[in-house]
């Protein structure tokens, strides 16, 4: 039990220290009294007795210290007093401390927030075992059911291969219709993913073939949301896309595939009797590698698959599947390549963290030089250099920790903005968050940064000019030695800032260039709403009536000037294209058949989107089912096929509609991408091509705010057809901004960081110049007394302050030239070495430098000689 008494004793030494000190005092006093009495009893003079008792006892303070040491808590109490002292120092200079802490907090917060993203995205495993063995097959053109059946048993390196596609289904419950993201997959999917359900089963062999019972496996999310987590849901029949399905299983919590938005899984219907089986390419192939499969084995398999396909099909050269077979890890397929953006942001935040450390170091250096006197006195009083160094270290680590806590707060606040700035599928964003690992890393970072900023001051301390500082009066010299290191730090800081600002300027120019592109449409005031009706639950006539009435009622909404339907959202949704056969052009047949985007539109669509009709006419209300089939083509289509000849009245055949006559030409609209040449596109009459199907995107243009249309349109849909569901409500401007999202958000971030860089650089220059002015007060006083013009002094100080800034700008420009190449992937229409961006960065830093030097220089030029000379 001895350790118990030991701990109790030490606890008492910490928490009841004053009582223990008092006891020690009393104990010594009693001892001296008795000793004195002893001497007096031997007949000594009382004064002499006291003296002798003291001599006999020895140095009281020293023994008290000895006794205290035996209490076993010295290390702790020293740390305590160091911390108290450090806190006092920081509080004494609130302006300095908050500046330093905020600076560091920004660096730490940014780094930590980014680390959480990397942690969540690149390090957190996907929710199925051994994801590195799951591969996605090449999909430049999607797979057909027939192709899947042909190749699925060919590869030897794969345990199994599955095909899937994503669909939106409506689920009918008592509460109404919900649009459910549904994955349709072959039965192999569950072998490939290797995940077992938490309730029931997954698909049985044969359930993806014709004649099988309709079954559905629910995700955990929808099971909770729509079925209240009822364990008896297995075996229940639910209406899914209008057709009764039997729920056979529920997936465990945390499972998702391909992204957390997908909520239900139904088997494919691979029916060779169905035309789509052989003709429609719409599947993604996913395979699980055998353990220990080799690169060579995979390559052999890919060649074998290509050989099988080559034997069976004559591919058009445009989508020849046998040309370049490959597999990519499923993580890369699902998440895309986010590495460049993450690395770029990491580099930026790293620079910022470095800058904040440099800045705080410069600030602290200024202070430690000011504190030379204090340090010298403490050294003279017997504090060892190591003890003083420890004090400095304690101060900076305390500063680091305060910044760390601030940084964590910033990181949690910044996190959403940061995640939004990365090119990540929105569905994955929900799975990202700041966790305790990242907060721990903030703490570590805080301590490291704190220690780093103590290095330079400690080095100065140990090199030691302490006694000198204490004895000599502050001279009129400009303190060359103390200034040199700070100047070097300012050079470094300005250099880093130039690099940051150059990067930001390049992205600003990129966004300008993107903005200048003509999308061929006017997004202002346009709302877009996806509408889906189950085709199994409604008749074609019902659907035609519903969509027609929805359009009429929308046009009648206050403020709406035009409305129409389209099948794919411009600027957002690619796909839906097919080959076309041009009448009277035998040179464009067979493998030379051109490919055109398929876009049915209703009469108001062009007007709602502001698409310009260049020739002929647009789609008119007279283009209805039964009247002659018409097409309006874009300029690229007309130019590519007919060159300078008049396209009006020409005929061509498309698999989607039939043989159509060209009645008009419209400007090139950005159907899928803003950047790059627009593809050949055919627009067809909605009524002749798409009406009667269960889905469409409603576009409505209003004179007011586009977003004000969302609620009324939702209400209209609910009122007109309770079996319909609304999905994908966004403004056309959002869709367009989305296209520019990456450069826009990167620009936002780099802009933010480079603004901070500018501020840091300015603060650094200000600190150094004002410190040197402060030290040279006497000199300025003398010069003023001797008749120097204030303007001359002002110029001198600014010139001297600008030397490190100019050095930094030159160095920074050189580094930026070398480093900006890493940005090239994010730029559009701007060279990484763009002189304008570089010049604006250099210019802003020089301007910031002058501004920073101005205030202290003005102070120097207004020095009152009398005051300056009298002061120390």
């Amino acid at each position: 039990m001895r350790w118990v008494s030991d701990i109790l004793f030490r606890l008492r030494a910490i928490f009841a220290r004053s009582a223990m000190e008092r006891d020690l005092e009393d104990e010594f006093a009693f001892h001296l009294e008795r000793e004195t009495e002893k001497h007096i009893a031997r007949g000594m003079d009382p004064d002499e007795a006291v003296r002798l008792a003291r001599i006999g006892f020895g140095g009281e303070e020293r023994f008290k210290e000895g006794a205290r040491e035996s209490w076993g808590v010295t290390a702790l109490t020293d740390l305590g007093s160091d911390l108290r002292f450090a806190a006092r120092q920081l509080l004494k200079n609130p302006a300095f401390s908050s500046l330093a802490a905020l600076t560091l907090a920004l660096g730490i917060g940014g780094t930590v927030a980014l680390f959480s993203v990397v942690n969540g995205l690149m390090l957190r495993p996907l929710p199925f075992p051994e994801e590195d063995r799951v591969m996605s097959f090449w999909m430049d053109y999607n797979w057909r059911g027939e192709e899947f059946d042909l190749v699925k048993d060919v590869p030897e390196s794969f345990e199994s291969i599955a095909a899937y596609s994503s669909l939106g289904y409506t689920l009918r419950t008592e509460a109404g219709s919900t649009l459910v993201r549904t994955l349709v997959a072959s039965v192999e999917l569950w072998d490939v993913l290797g995940v077992a359900p938490s309730l029931g089963r997954t698909f049985l062999p044969g359930e993806d073939r014709p004649g099988a019972e309709e079954v559905v496996v629910l995700g955990h999310g929808i099971w909770q949301r729509e079925f209240g987590g009822d364990p008896d849901v297995v075996g229940r029949r639910i209406r899914f896309d209008g057709v009764p399905h039997t729920v056979v299983g529920v997936m465990p919590e945390g499972f998702y595939f391909p992204t957390p938005e997908w909520d239900a899984y139904v088997p494919l219907d691979l029916d060779p009797a169905d035309g789509a089986y052989a003709n429609n390419g719409w599947l993604v192939l996913l395979g699980r590698l055998r353990p220990g499969a080799s690169e060579a084995g995979i390559d052999r398999d890919l060649s074998a698959i290509a050989a099988v396909l080559d034997e069976r099909y004559d591919y058009s050269t445009r989508w020849d599947k046998t040309r370049d077979p490959y597999v990519i890890p499923v993580r890369e397929y699902l998440l895309g390549d986010v590495r460049p953006a993450i690395l770029l942001l990491f580099a930026t935040v790293g620079l910022l963290l470095l800058m904040s450390c440099v800045n705080v170091t410069a600030l602290i250096l200024t202070k430690t030089v000011d504190r030379t006197r204090e340090m010298s006195v403490r050294a003279a009083l017997g504090a060892g250099r190591a003890r003083l160094a420890r004090q400095v270290l304690t101060e900076s680590i305390l500063l680091g920790l305060v910044s760390g806590v601030l940084g964590m707060a910033l990181a949690t606040g910044l996190f959403d903005v940061l995640v939004a700035s990365l090119p990540i599928d929105p569905a994955f964003r929900t799975s990202l968050g700041v966790d305790w690992i990242t907060l721990l890393s903030a703490l570590v970072l805080a301590v490291v940064a704190g220690s780093a900023i103590a290095l330079a001051p400690i080095r100065n301390l140990l090199r030691g000019e302490l006694s000198e500082g204490a004895l000599t009066r502050r001279s009129g010299g400009n303190g060359l030695h103390a200034g040199r290191m700070q100047r070097a730090l300012v050079v470094a800081e300005v250099l880093l800032a130039v690099v940051l600002v150059t990067g930001a300027a390049l992205l600003v120019r990129t966004v300008e260039q993107l903005r200048a592109l003509d999308p061929g449409l006017d997004p202002e005031g346009v709302m877009t709403v996806g509408v889906v009706v189950s085709e199994d639950e409604t008749t074609e006539a019902e659907r035609r009536v519903f969509f027609q009435r929805l359009l009429e009622r929308t046009e009648a909404l206050p403020g709406v000037t035009a409305a129409g339907y389209i099948n794919r959202l411009p600027l957002r949704d690619g796909g839906y294209q097919g080959s076309v056969t041009i009448e009277g052009r035998p040179d464009l047949e067979g493998v030379n058949r051109p490919n055109a985007m398929y876009r049915p539109v209703s009469p108001g669509t062009f007007e709602a989107l502001g698409v310009e009709v260049r020739q002929g006419r647009g789609i008119e209300p007279t283009d209805i089912a039964g009247s002659p089939l018409v097409a309006v083509v874009n300029e690229t289509f007309a130019r590519t096929v007919w060159g300078d000849e008049n396209p009006i009245g020409r005929r061509y055949t498309t698999g989607f509609v039939g043989t159509v006559e060209v009645v008009g030409v419209v400007a090139d609209v950005a159907v899928a991408d803003l950047v790059g040449a627009q593809p050949m596109t055919g627009f067809y009459a909605w009524d002749q091509a798409q009406a009667g199907t269960g889905s469409g995107i409603l576009l409505a243009k209003t004179t007011g705010l586009a977003t004000s249309l969302a609620a009324p349109i939702r209400a209209l849909v609910a009122e007109l057809e309770p079996r319909a569901a609304v999905g994908g409500v966004q403004t056309m401007e959002e869709a367009m901004e989305g296209e520019m999202a990456e450069p826009l958000r990167l620009r936002f971030f780099l802009g933010l960081f480079s603004a901070l860089g500018l501020v840091l650089g300015t603060v650094g220059v200000y600190g150094v110049v004002s410190y040197s002015v402060h030290r040279r007060r006497t000199e300025f006083g003398i010069r003023m007394a001797l008749g120097a013009e204030p303007g001359t002094l002002l110029g001198t100080v600014i010139r001297q302050g600008m030397v490190p800034v100019v050095l930094g700008v030159v160095g920074g420009a050189a580094v930026a030239l070398l480093a900006s190449r890493t940005l090239s992937g994010f730029l559009f229409g701007v060279e990484p070495t763009d002189p304008l961006s570089l010049a604006s960065a250099a210019g802003s830093l020089l301007a910031a430098g002058v501004a920073a030097a101005l205030l202290p220089a003005w102070r120097a030029s207004t020095t009152d000689p009398a005051v300056a000379l009298r002061s120390d």
Binding site: M1, R2, V4, S5, D6, F9, R10, D23, L24, D26, E27, F28, F30, H31, E33, R34, E35, K38, G56, F57, G58, G59, E60, R62, F63, G66, A67, E69, S70, W71, G72
Partner: protein
């Protein structure tokens, strides 16, 4: 007047303190007097460093202390040997006997 002996053999002070306290509880001054007395003034305890030892022994749980009133009606901190201290005294005196015996042998005194 003999100069106080600083360099008492290292570690023996603790043992001497335990030994003195095994007779009766005692305050610091009394302990140093008793050691002088028992050694016929051959051992002079450095009075200041006595307290560092006493506090360390307290922390180790071999002695405990309490404030009592002396015969002359004054407050003094008395140190009291604990059970653990008694055991420790046994251990240390055994070790000491072995050591001094060995030293004697080497010196040809045994």
């Amino acid at each position: 007047m003999p100069k106080p002996q600083d360099d008492m053999i290292r570690g023996t002070l603790d043992m001497l303190i335990l030994r003195v306290l095994s007779l009766e509880p005692m305050h610091g001054w009394g302990i140093s007097e008793r050691i002088q007395q028992m050694s016929d003034a051959a051992l002079q305890v450095n009075q200041g460093s006595l307290y560092a030892s006493l506090h360390r022994l307290t922390r180790q749980g071999w002695v405990k202390s309490e404030w009592r009133v002396t015969q002359n009606n004054r407050r003094a901190r008395y140190y009291i040997l604990t059970r653990a201290g008694e055991r420790q005294l046994g251990v240390e005196s055994d070790q000491w006997a072995k050591l001094s015996d060995a030293v004697d042998r080497v010196m040809g005194l045994a």
